[in-house]
């Protein structure tokens, strides 16, 4: 009994659309015919987090300066259209909820959504800061201990902003951003509509990563201690959790596993120095990762040897966890990593540090990469971003 689906109530088409979990499937559904398109909203608001894209400099001419790599589409590079106003003189230092975090030279903070090409401004970091612009290329930083030191703009870009994470898309009313700045010692947040960033009184040093989960920000330091920050009220409330045993490694990342578990991912990097100049780095490559799960009752980080079907994405982005079975062409039990070195904008040789670490055998599969600073020192370094239509 053939059925005439053009006579379907709109609610039914909408119910089917609501069960679609992948954005590309949603777009293709809307492309079927007029009656589907008019029944199904332009912007889906129900999608779970999508598989991240890898934004890459192509090392080519200015017209195709930036591309993205979609793990599902036969691993092909796709050209990314970025308005000149955005790409010119901006420096990429993070991504969260599908928005890239860009610093201007002035310095302002611009958020750019590569999927929708929307942009959004956040208050500039200098508005509160202990960093004064001395001239176009240098900053004078007043450390809380009373010490003053200088940083070039490029050094600032590389190391001043360690991480920026959001509670949600900046378009939502409850938007809050948290930043780890001044290399890793200062936490600052701003809520939607704020004109300046608010500092969180320092309770932890060497903050390495932060995530947002269940209305709270979780921040980890290089030894694995966790600061739980509640910035929902008028003043921030911070509690520190010090798990037994200090962690080692070169970088720490916090990831929400997706199964309500807090994971710690430790990155170990092999660094090679120049024979002649011992301060010059000639190679910076990730060797391996270790993964731990928080046991809250002790508290303690417990090593886990397998992620099952999960894929974790770490780097300068706000960490993401996905299930490989939800997406074609993806491998579970892997950590997809992008460059997180402190000299993305300085002259260091070699390729960017990218790849796929497989927990099963500890091997690393390479992702397309290119030479650091190949074409232009303003090229955006590789970063993961989750395509987000909101």
């Amino acid at each position: 009994m053939a059925v005439d689906w053009t006579q379907l109530p709109q609610e039914l088409l909408k119910s089917i659309a609501d069960s679609i979990k992948i954005y590309a499937d949603y777009l293709r559904f809307r492309a079927v015919c007029h009656s589907v398109r008019s029944s199904v909203p332009n912007t889906p608001r129900h999608l779970p987090p999508q598989l991240p894209w890898l934004i890459l400099p192509t090392g080519q001419s200015d017209q195709y300066k930036t591309a993205f790599f979609d793990l599902q589409i036969a691993r092909k590079l796709q050209h990314l259209e970025v308005p000149d106003a955005v790409s010119h003189w901006t420096f990429l230092c993070g991504s969260s909820h599908g928005w890239l975090v860009l610093l201007f030279q002035s310095p302002g903070v611009l958020l750019f959504n590569p999927l929708t090409r929307a942009s959004f401004h956040l208050p500039p970091f200098s508005a509160y800061s202990n960093a004064q612009i001395v001239n176009l290329f240098e900053f004078e930083i007043n450390d809380e201990m009373g010490e003053i030191y200088m940083r070039t703009f490029r050094e600032m870009l590389d190391s001043y902003i360690k991480k920026v994470v959001f509670s949600s898309s900046p378009l939502s009313n409850n938007f809050v951003a948290l930043a780890i700045i001044n290399q890793c010692d200062i936490l600052a947040y701003c809520k939607k509509g704020d004109l300046t960033w608010t500092l969180i009184p320092r309770t932890m040093f060497c903050c390495e990563d932060a995530i947002y989960y269940n209305d709270l920000f979780y921040v980890v330091d290089k030894h694995g201690a966790v600061a739980v920050c509640d910035v929902n009220g008028a003043s921030p409330i911070v509690s520190i959790i010090k798990p037994q045993l200090q962690m080692g490694g070169d970088h720490q990342y916090l990831v929400n596993s997706g199964d309500d578990e807090l994971l710690l991912v430790t990155r170990y990097v092999d660094v090679q120095y120049d024979d002649v100049d011992p301060n010059k780095i000639v190679s910076y490559k990730t060797a391996r990762f270790e993964v731990f799960r928080m046991n809250w009752s002790e508290p303690r980080w417990e090593r886990i040897r397998s992620l099952g079907d999960r894929m974790l994405f770490v780097g300068e982005n706000s960490s993401v966890s996905c299930l490989a079975s939800d997406f074609k062409g993806c491998l579970g039990n892997c950590i997809y990593f992008a460059d997180d070195s402190d000299f993305k904008y300085n002259s260091v040789n070699g390729d960017y540090d990218l790849g796929i670490f497989k927990l099963l055998d500890g091997s690393i599969e390479h992702l397309p990469s290119c030479q650091r600073n190949f074409r232009s020192r303003n090229d955006w370094p590789p970063i993961w971003v989750t395509p987000n239509p909101c």
Binding site: L12, I22, A24, L27, R28, V32, C33, I73, K76, Q78
Partner: protein, 179 residues
């Protein structure tokens, strides 16, 4: 009164309701099961409608109605099993998910579509929900043309409109499964 193998007689003594499919076949079901179909519930909520009245379901085939009744009967049983005990709840939930998966797995594309229309017409929220999810799974990573054929919908976009859509999000139209 038809009484085939798919419609075992309800217990003697329990209240029953008669439902008539589009081909005239009559199904006698326990009242609790019949009330899962919101359309049927509304039918009896009207004043003065006696429970002996046969409910005409003109838009539902007997095949679809038989499956709907079978699902609702199991759903009512499972709901009775769950209660305050978290363990029992969990088990009932798993059994229900197994039931849904089995129903969906056996159905052809035409069958699923027919069930969706039936569940929509009969207003059975839970059933409609998992059937829509099943359809979402069936069109996952499929081309636009495949989705059109699945729903038997004509492409009524102009060539210009279509080209514009494809250019705006070119990446979304690549990497689909071969039809």
């Amino acid at each position: 009164m038809a009484n085939n193998g798919e419609n075992p007689s309800p217990d003697v003594g329990g209240k029953t309701v008669k439902l008539k499919a589009d081909d005239g076949e009559i199904f006698e079901v326990e009242e609790a099961v019949a009330m899962e179909l919101q359309t049927v519930k509304s039918f009896f909520d009207d004043d003065g409608v006696s429970y002996d009245t046969v409910v005409p379901l003109l838009n539902v085939s007997s095949t679809a109605l038989a499956k709907v009744i079978q699902y609702c009967r199991r759903a009512v049983e499972l709901r009775a099993k769950s209660g305050d005990d978290e363990g029992a709840n969990e088990k009932a939930r798993e059994e229900r998910e197994g039931l849904e998966a089995e129903l969906v797995r056996e159905e052809s594309d035409e069958g699923i579509k027919e069930l969706i229309l039936a569940a929509n017409y009969l207003n059975i929220k839970d059933m409609l929900s998992f059937l829509c999810r099943a359809v979402g799974d069936r069109i996952k990573n499929k081309s636009v043309e495949y989705v059109r054929r699945f729903f038997v919908l004509e492409n009524d976009f102009s060539p210009e409109e279509e080209e514009r859509t494809r250019n705006e999000v070119a990446w979304a139209f690549e990497g689909v499964d071969a039809d």
